[in-house]
């Protein structure tokens, strides 16, 4: 039945129903033929018995007297009778087996041995129309007044019974074929109609491009049958899935704000530090306004500090500006990332290993937003995971068809829950953040692969993003990690 596997249920079930009908028809036909065979056997046995008994009564005294002519005349007249046509040949022998007369004297002459004729003969009780031969041979004792005075050998023409059986077989085959054909078509149509809700359900689940749609109320079967309940349950599930997606979207947005808060505090710290220097520079300028070299030196200091603040502000703006999301990835995106992560690195007194091999003349054609989000989430996660004075690193390089991002840290490694969020598609366990799952979702949508390895106390997460094709379709807006 494996060959039925590729066929849809609406085809398989009618085929199975038709096969069952064929099976039932075959069994029924077999029973009918068997019953017909029994009837024919009983009929031929009864006929042969009547023939033998009738001849015994008529021929008994003639055989005793060896009256050959009267035996022949009786046989000949019996052969002319209606049922005599079935008896194609009858021969009567005396008690020693010598033929007295036969309906065909030329074939079975007087005084020949009846055993020659009855070589394939069977007894009356074994007479059966089951062979392919159209003539049955019977040998029976000729009893008269309680004793056997001779033998009767008869050949019965059963070709009409065989033809009747063949005709019955043909009728059964034709009838069954027609009945099975009609019933199969009716069953096919009925099952197709009955299974239409299942087909609709399957279509709604498979042909909705990743987002299941509810079944229209008009397509839901009326009543409270299994299929109606299934359709309603499916609609309920679709609603639950949509609610869950909405909840995840809101959670991601909240995570984004949390991350922004953390970034903001780092940025505030980053800005506060130079602000002190800048204020000192303005005091120095006021105090030594008459000293051009001091003013120039303080102005340079102010200029560097303000430029730094401008860069930080621009990077922050770029990180959150929506119109950057679909912009192609460029080397400046990684510079922004470094600028954004630097305050957190500095705050946690970490060592940052930064290596970006990016050829500006051969851009990978990947949207910048998701890549920035992936890298930032993983870098922030590494910052949180790395112990103070630890090391984190980002290594970006191009391969033939992919851009690879390698984020490493010397932290204690990811927990099982974190690995499940990063590497699996299972449901999120409560209590954890969604940053790692956002990394996985974004990478998956771009057709990428996320890999994790922990060696020599270093946790290394590698993201391989294809440089063409599905990257264009990726459009993640997830928030930062942790």
């Amino acid at each position: 039945m494996k060959w039925l596997g590729p066929f849809p249920l609406s085809i398989k079930l009618p085929i199975l129903a038709a096969a069952m009908m064929v099976l039932v028809g075959a069994v029924a036909s077999q029973q009918v033929l068997r019953a017909l065979a029994r009837v024919q056997d009983a009929r031929i046995q009864e006929l042969a018995q009547m023939h033998v008994e009738g001849l015994s009564v008529a021929l008994g005294p003639l055989v005793l007297r060896h009256d050959i002519w009267e035996v022949y005349d009786t046989l000949d007249r019996a052969a002319q009778a209606g049922e005599g046509r079935r008896m194609v040949l009858t021969a009567v022998a005396d008690e020693r087996g010598r033929v007295l007369a036969a309906t065909d004297p030329r074939r079975v002459p007087i005084d020949s041995d009846i055993a020659d004729l009855a070589r394939d003969a069977v007894a009356l009780e074994n007479l059966s129309v089951d062979g392919s031969a159209g003539v049955l041979s019977l040998l029976a004792p000729l009893s008269y007044q309680g004793r056997t005075v001779g033998q009767i050998a008869t050949e019965l023409d059963v070709s009409d019974l065989l033809a009747e059986r063949r005709q019955a077989l043909v009728y059964l085959l034709v009838g069954n074929a027609m009945a099975v054909g009609i019933l199969s078509l009716a069953g096919f149509a009925a099952l197709r109609r009955m299974l239409r809700p299942v087909t609709t359900l399957a279509r709604q689940m498979t042909e909705t491009q990743g987002e299941p749609h509810p079944i229209a109320d008009t397509d839901i079967p009326r009543g409270h049958g299994e299929l109606a309940r299934l359709a309603r349950t499916y609609n309920t599930m679709v609603g639950a899935v949509a609610d869950k997606a909405e909840a995840e979207r809101r959670l991601a947005a909240r995570e984004r704000f949390v991350a922004l808060g953390r970034l903001s505090s780092s940025l505030a710290h980053e800005i506060n530090n130079p602000l002190g220097g800048l204020l000192n520079a303005t005091d120095t300028i006021r105090s030594f306004a008459d000293r051009p070299d001091v003013v120039r030196h303080s102005a340079d200091l102010l200029d560097r500090g303000l430029r730094h603040l401008r860069d930080v502000t621009r990077a922050t703006l770029d990180q959150n500006r929506l119109d950057r999301v679909e912009q192609p990835l460029g080397p400046e995106d990684f510079e922004d990332l470094k600028l954004l992560i630097q305050p957190e690195v500095t705050r946690r007194a970490l060592v940052l290993d930064w290596s970006v091999e990016f050829d500006a003349d051969d851009p990978p054609g990947i949207p910048a937003g998701p890549v920035r989000q992936i890298a930032l989430n993983l870098l922030l996660n590494s910052c949180a995971a790395a112990s103070p004075s630890g090391r984190i690193g980002l290594h970006v390089w191009r391969e033939a068809d992919a851009l690879r991002l390698d984020i490493a840290d010397t932290g204690s490694g990811m927990s099982q829950a974190e690995l499940e969020r990063l590497l699996g598609d299972g449901p999120l366990s409560p209590g954890g953040g969604v940053g790692l799952r956002i990394v996985r979702d974004l990478a998956t949508r771009m057709g990428g692969i996320v890999d994790h390895v922990r060696t020599d106390g270093v946790t290394r997460v590698t993201v391989a993003l294809p440089t063409q094709g599905s990257v264009q379709a990726a459009h993640g807006t997830g928030g930062p990690a942790c």
């Binding site: 050959i68 002519w69 022949y72 005349d73 000949d76 007369a101 065909d104 004297p105 030329r106 002459p109 007087i110 005084d111």
Partner: protein
């Protein structure tokens, strides 16, 4: 209605009733029949009975038995008033039986015995049939037994040893059937019967062939006990047989029997049969 019937009508009706009452009052005449002729045809038998009954003016009962011996026995024991026998049993009991009439067939009161075989049988004479099976009609039949038996005797043979097996069919038509169907190789049959069958059932006789014919012998006669020959019933029978050609019913009966009529005969008509009987007894 009565006034319309005249005196002449009344006298005529009375005479008719007297004649009818006389005929009805006669005892039934019993005529025995051997299977010498076409006894299997009920229409033929009935036609003969009606013709003779009308000719004799009395009712006739035709008595049939399987063998010649049965009929001859009935005649001798007065079980029948007369019988259509064969020349052979007539001569066997010539001291007690007398001739009433003899049929005329093809212009003469004589016939032949035929020795027949299957149409495809190559036998040309009786000698060629040695070792085969043979069908006789009746042991008291001249044409159906005596002729072949005496022919064999004249050859120094006996029927029970010359043939591998011989059977009696007790009917000339049965002899023809036995030979035609292949039950036996050859048969002895009344030539008159064979010729009549050739006209009535040509398909049957076409399957047989005449191997030999005997000399002309006296046709099977109608006999009665000698002591009854002068009795009225027997005389009436004789007249009725002679008069058959004079009535339509009688002519139809004769035509059905393929006979020309009946005539009186003397015992010397059967001298040929007597010769054979002597040959067989010696």
């Amino acid at each position: 209605m009565a006034c319309l019937i005249g005196r002449r009508d009344l006298v005529g009706a009375g005479l008719a009733a007297l004649v009818a009452g006389r005929a009805w009052a006669q005892p039934v005449f019993r005529l025995g029949l051997t299977p010498v002729f076409l006894d299997n045809d009920a229409a033929v038998i009935d036609g003969l009975r009606r013709a003779l009954s009308r000719g004799m003016g009395r009712e006739i009962e035709l008595v049939q038995r399987r063998t010649y011996q049965d009929i001859t026995g009935l005649l001798l024991e007065r079980g029948v008033d007369a019988a259509w026998l064969c020349g052979y049993p007539y001569l066997q009991h010539a001291d007690l039986l007398g001739l009433v009439a003899v049929p005329v067939w093809r212009g003469a009161p004589s016939y032949q015995s035929y020795l027949i075989a299957a149409a495809a049988d190559p036998a040309g004479t009786l000698t060629d049939l040695r070792g085969g099976t043979h069908a006789f009609s009746d042991p008291d039949s001249n044409s159906g037994y005596l002729v072949t038996a005496t022919d064999l005797r004249r050859m120094g043979e006996r029927a029970d040893t010359f043939f591998s097996r011989s059977i009696f069919t007790f009917g000339h038509r049965n002899v023809v059937r036995a030979v035609a169907d292949g039950l036996v190789r050859s048969g002895s049959v009344d030539g008159y019967v064979w010729e009549a069958l050739a006209a009535i059932e040509p398909d049957l006789t076409a399957r047989t062939r005449i191997v030999g014919r005997s000399e002309w012998l006296g046709f099977p006669p109608v006999c009665a006990r000698r002591d009854m020959l002068g009795s009225d019933p027997v005389q009436a029978l004789q007249r009725a047989l002679m008069d058959l050609p004079t009535t339509d019913e009688g002519r139809r009966a004769l035509a059905a029997l393929h006979l020309d009529g009946f005539q009186q005969a003397t015992p010397d008509l059967f001298d040929g049969i007597a010769d054979r009987m002597r040959d067989l007894e010696t």
